[in-house]
Every structure is written in structure tokens, then in C-alpha cells.
Symmetry: C2
DNA sequence: TTGTAAGCGTTATCAA
DNA sequence: TTGATAACGCTTACAA
């Protein structure tokens, strides 16, 4: 049953009494076609359940219909959000989404990517952070004849090749809000060095303090790896400062959860004794106790736009590339001093 | 720079002074080839940086090199784990992984999947739960001439078309362990009706009680939707029973986190007043407080095997299909009554 | 062990 | 507005 040879363009041509070129014109919606002819061919196509062979088209057109997603798993929800966003855009087209997780520490990273693009002859590629921050990787893809759109947290490239959130602004706003709540000792957990997102968030932190007229205090600022354990260590460090912070901004949710654990282990209550804000709005953020106030960025919408820039470079390339994030206010950050005490 | 026409098999043939068929033989590692010829051709291939055109191969071979992953986002970490597992297997081959998230409640689900498979002419498809539990979908893929491997939590199909965890056994073990810890009032939060995984876990729960010589008590058993909020509601319900449970098994982590919130809102301490066990070992499980004891299934390994069954049906089809899960013991489940009280 | 001719299913060229 | 013919880059007969 599965092997009832799929009908080809020849079958359609024969059955509708036209040449295959005419059928091809119908498929490609050529404008110069007799309406009657078109309708006849279309009805045969429907009858037969004919679906054009994409591989053959790709061969003849000397171009492919594959979009590649290359990433080194920044976090599961983000990768999945991106996939959904890309699909939103390409679902009604002939394009397909091919994924390739890679290891950015692998010595063969370059070759892996080259091989992937060459072998599959990708039409376009989307790069996720932190890979997207590397100009050499973007250049590699271009040299391979493949359009690239990079997703990041700052202006990594020109509008045609970029979708980015404005992390600096978002963090600045979050910190300013903590200050409005009455906090004047605000701790900071930075992300790992070498990550552009980490740097942007760090800049945003300083911006926020400045807006509130506060001075940064190195005693309550530290750095983590974006992983849970590092957040816990960072929390311990900050909370054992001579004058500990009353609020902490963590550069991502996973570390924020770590800070929360550290506080708990010292017998502190969150948010009564310590307010915490994270970044990313991962699933965890809403499911920990107390629910985490955090910065959410519109990943899916960004990916939708990114895909549009890839497949309609002419019309979509100039669409806005910078997306605004917003602060999701949950229970982990409250006024200082707490009202109910 | 990008448009330096890629070399073709003809270029290789010309430069190495052989026919294209011979080059083809080299590419396909045909055994009957003069060693010297092979080496010469290989060196030309290397010089040229020639990469065979997969689309052309696909056309000539009348088969494709695309594996599809169809899912309705059971949870982000699982989907990503599956993608990584599949890539582990296909990385060194010519296959690529094409993903297609779908909406299982969409009226066009059937057509969406058909269109995807027909259009991309997939070689094989992997189905994730809960979609994988539907025989009609698996049959659809087969009718379209595409091998299918289903991932599930029970024997949904024969070995050649299945990778499954043994949820029933895993839950039974978890519940038996709670009993060993001294709990005799063990509550249960079931997953949504219609989910095979939910049923298996439910059966496992009863098995576990039976093994411990305990009777199920409907007053401390309820059902959720696998979502956080439903877990919270379930927790409230169980904890307001005339004689509330001292431990709860939740059919997934997300609901377990909800039960935890419910307990907290009633002023209960976890695990001192209530032990909780979840299922899935999502990222959240390790990051909530207290860290959640949960069942972990070897998703990536399962996906690796699934991919092998797809691309090497002859050798891998008979590999074992049932994978064992294990209990990850963290702080959320302790003895009853608690020792330190 | 190697080569020739034909074909896979589509589109481009150029006439009609 | 349509159609014959030659690509596209590769593989499978079938010879040599």
C-alpha cells in the first residue's frame, strides 16, 4: 500500500493532456496561463494527490528548501520556543527546519558546522546564542553560500541578519524597579565572562543603579556560570558579605534558583528577607517557591521574524530586529522593608 | 565568494581521469575498485573539497535522507533530549533531523502530518508521546511509505517500531520505597485521562501499594492535567482530606511542584510534614526547594536507539525496546515519622 | 575493474 | 499561452 508509486509531473501531464512544462507552470503559479488549462490541471493534481518532488525541484532550481538551526543548547525552553517560532513562519511554505545541536567546546566545531551546511546544502541558517556571538561562525556560514540570521542580546549584526532582545534595557528597568521598591543594597550575579548576554546584563545592572542614584558595591557583586550550582555559590557569597544585600538580581533564572536555595539554607525567607529577580522566564521560574520575578523575552516572536528574514530576505530583512523584553512580576520581589513585618 | 560553483561529480571525474561512475563507486565505497584508482579519486575529492549533492542522490536513489520528529511538546527538556539522542546516532551519517511541532487538538492534525511527510518525502519518522499513543497516526505515516518509531511509556508497538520506558514498574518501585520509609497514607495525583503514560503510572501506583500491603484510599487520590496549576489544585484537595496523606506521588514533576506549592500555602513543611515524589526529572525538579525526588527516564539513550531502528532497520530493529527508569533520590521524600522531630 | 547510456522528477531555454 | 528538448547531479542497468 505504501509503494503505490507516487504520481509524478508526467502522470499529471498525461492525464490532463498538457505538457509537463505546463503542469510546472501551474505548480509555480505562473501568471501567463489560460484559466481553463490551470483549472483542468489543478483538478487532475487533486484527483491524483500529486505532490511535487522537492528533491527534484531542489536539483533543478539549484537551491534547497532547508533552514538549519544551529545551537549549543542555551536552555531547552528557548530552543523549543525558537523552533516553534520558525515553524510558525515556514509552516505554509515548502521549507523545512533541520536542527543541529553542536558542542561549542568541541575542537571540530568548525568542521561540524561546515559539514552540516555543505552536506545538506542549506538555504539559510539560524544561529542561537552563545554561538551567534561569534563572528567567525557567522562568516563561515556566509562563505558556504548560506544566509544567516543571528539571535542575540545586542546588536551583533545588521538588521537583515539579526534578531535581538534588548537585555541591557530590560535589566536596567528591573533594577530600577527594585530601587523603587525601597531596596538600596542590591546584589548582582553576573553571567559567565565571554557571553555577550552576560555583558549586556551587567551593563544594564549598572545603568539601573545609576538611574536610582545608587553606587555599585563590589562586595555584593559576583559572577556565575549560568548554572544552578554557581548561583547557589554566588548566593552564599553575597549573603555572607559584611552588609548583605536585601535584593539580588541574577543574570538568569537558573542561578536565581540557586540564590534562592542559598538563602533558604541560611534560614532566610524569600521574599521577606531577600528579594530575587531572575532573567529568561523559564518554566522553573513559575514553579519554584516563591514564584520568581523575572525578565521574559519574546523568543517565539523573535524566531518568527528571524525565519522571515531568512526566507523573504527582500521584504523582511528590514523589519525591526530589536525586541523588547518585559518584567514578569511575581512574588519573589517585594518592598523593603517588608510591609507585613 | 559564496558562488564559486560547487564542484560536481563530473569535475572530479574529469580531473582524476576516470568516468563519473567510478567516482560514484568511490563515494559509495564499492568494494570492486582498484586501490590505486580509489586513492587517486579520493585525493581529487579532497583537493576540490567536493561534497556529493544529497538532493541529486536522493532523486536517483528514490529515497531521502531525512528523519522527521513529530511531537506536540510534551515538555521542552524531553523534546530536546530526544533531538540530541537522534543526532548522536545520525551525526556521522548523511541523515538530517527535521522537526515539526504540531497541535494535537488541531482539526487539521492529520493533514498537517500527511503534508509534512509527503512534501519532504521523509525516510522515517519518530513520534513522541502523547501523539505516539495514537495508532491512527502511526498508521498514517506507514501508509505514506515511511518507517515509524514510537516513543512511549508502554508496549505500544513491536520492537522494530518502539522505544519505551517502563513507567508502571518505575512508579511501583517509587511507591514501594515510600512505604519502606514508613509512609502508610500515600496520596496520588494521576495524569490526564486518555494519556497512556498516565494510565501506566496509575497502574504502577496500585502495584506499589499492593506490594506494601496497603489499600488504595480514594479520598487521597485525584487527577490532574500534567500542568502546574492542576497539581496545586490536586494538592489542596488531598491535603484537605479528613486524614491527609503523609506522602504524595505525583505523575509528573510539574504537578509535583504544584503539590509543593499547595503544601506551602497551608503552612506545611516539605518534606517534614509531607514527602513528595514526581516523575520526569525535569530541570525544575532539581531547582525547586527542597530538591524533588523523582523518576528519571533515559530519554537520550532511548532516542539514540530509536534513530538506529529508523536508519538501520535490519540490524537495530531487534534491539531491546524497553528502557528502565530510575528513582533519583533527593530531599523531598524522607522517613515517616521524620527522625528529627 | 571500469565505462556508456539511460533515467530519477523537476525547471529553463527557446520556439511555435 | 503552450511545448519539445536539454539541463540539474547522481545512480542503475548493462557492457566492455
Amino acid at each position: 500500500m505504501a509503494d503505490a508509486q507516487k504520481p509524478t509531473i508526467n502522470d499529471v501531464a498525461r492525464l490532463s493532456g498538457v505538457s509537463k512544462k505546463t503542469v510546472s507552470r501551474v505548480i509555480n503559479k505562473s501568471p501567463l496561463l489560460n484559466q481553463a488549462t490551470r483549472e483542468k490541471v489543478e483538478s487532475v493534481i487533486a484527483d491524483l494527490g500529486y505532490v511535487p518532488n522537492l528533491q527534484a525541484r531542489a536539483l533543478a532550481l539549484r537551491r534547497n528548501f532547508l533552514i538549519g538551526l544551529i545551537h549549543d543548547n542555551p536552555n531547552a525552553q528557548m530552543v523549543l520556543g525558537v523552533q516553534e517560532g520558525i515553524l510558525d513562519t515556514i509552516r505554509s511554505t515548502e521549507f523545512a527546519l533541520v536542527v543541529r545541536p553542536v558542542d561549542r567546546h568541541s575542537p571540530t566545531l568548525f568542521d561540524d558546522i561546515r559539514r552540516f551546511i555543505e552536506q545538506q546544502r542549506l538555504y539559510g541558517v539560524m544561529l542561537l546564542p552563545p554561538l551567534s556571538e561569534r563572528d567567525d561562525l557567522a562568516q563561515l556560514c556566509r562563505d558556504l553560500g548560506c544566509t544567516v540570521v543571528r539571535m542575540g542580546s545586542a546588536r551583533l549584526d545588521d538588521d537583515a541578519h539579526l534578531v535581538a532582545s534588548n537585555d541591557r534595557q530590560a535589566v536596567s528597568d528591573a533594577v530600577a524597579w527594585l530601587a523603587e521598591l525601597g531596596h538600596s543594597r542590591i546584589g548582582f550575579v553576573a553571567g559567565p565572562e565571554g557571553f555577550r548576554s552576560a555583558r549586556e546584563r551587567e551593563l544594564g545592572f549598572h545603568d539601573g543603579l545609576a538611574r536610582a542614584g545608587l553606587k555599585p558595591d563590589p562586595a555584593i557583586m559576583t559572577r556565575g556560570t549560568y548554572r544552578f550550582e554557581s548561583g547557589r555559590a554566588a548566593g552564599e557569597q553575597l549573603l555572607s558579605a559584611p552588609t548583605p544585600p536585601t535584593a539580588v538580581f541574577s543574570s538568569n533564572d537558573e542561578m536565581a534558583a540557586g540564590v534562592l536555595h542559598a538563602a533558604r539554607e541560611r534560614g532566610l525567607d524569600v521574599p521577606e528577607d531577600l528579594s530575587i529577580i531572575g532573567f529568561d522566564d523559564t518554566a522553573t521560574a513559575a514553579h519554584i517557591w516563591p514564584p520568581l520575578t523575572t525578565v521574559r523575552w519574546p523568543i517565539r516572536a523573535m524566531a518568527r521574524t528571524a525565519a522571515a528574514k531568512l526566507i523573504h530576505p527582500s521584504s523582511a530583512a528590514s523589519e525591526p530586529s530589536i525586541f523588547l523584553s518585559d518584567l514578569v512580576r511575581r512574588a519573589s520581589a517585594i518592598t523593603y522593608p517588608p510591609e507585613s513585618r
